[in-house]
Subunit: 75 residues, 2 copies
Amino acid sequence: MDVKTAFGSVLREIRTHRNFSQEQMSLECDLDRTYISLLERGKRQPTLTTLFRLATVLNVSAAEMIDETQKRLQD
Amino acid sequence: MDVKTAFGSVLREIRTHRNFSQEQMSLECDLDRTYISLLERGKRQPTLTTLFRLATVLNVSAAEMIDETQKRLQD
């Protein structure tokens, strides 16, 4: 699994746990819904600034998202 | 302090603690030395893939680098 795919799966998991739709995420983060979808499918990777914005909206720390991404990379 | 500046200061600090020059970092990471310099000065921000590559070469976890970045943002 590559970094983008691992991160995308973490993002999707946390978002659905929060009962956020991609639409809500895109509004809260001021990002395009299509971009959220591309991130979750591992077709794009966020910049650090976007990572922090996503984490804030999801109410997790950016470090936790990266830690979980790293764990999935090692699987 | 913004995300880029905070991350750049973390990168520079860990690199110098490791006694790596920017030149060595750029060779080990297969990134341009100028790009390392831009990252450290907060003029660029890394993609997630680059973050993981930098962390591997510096022998720290990517999550630790993000955690430290987050702490500096809150200062």
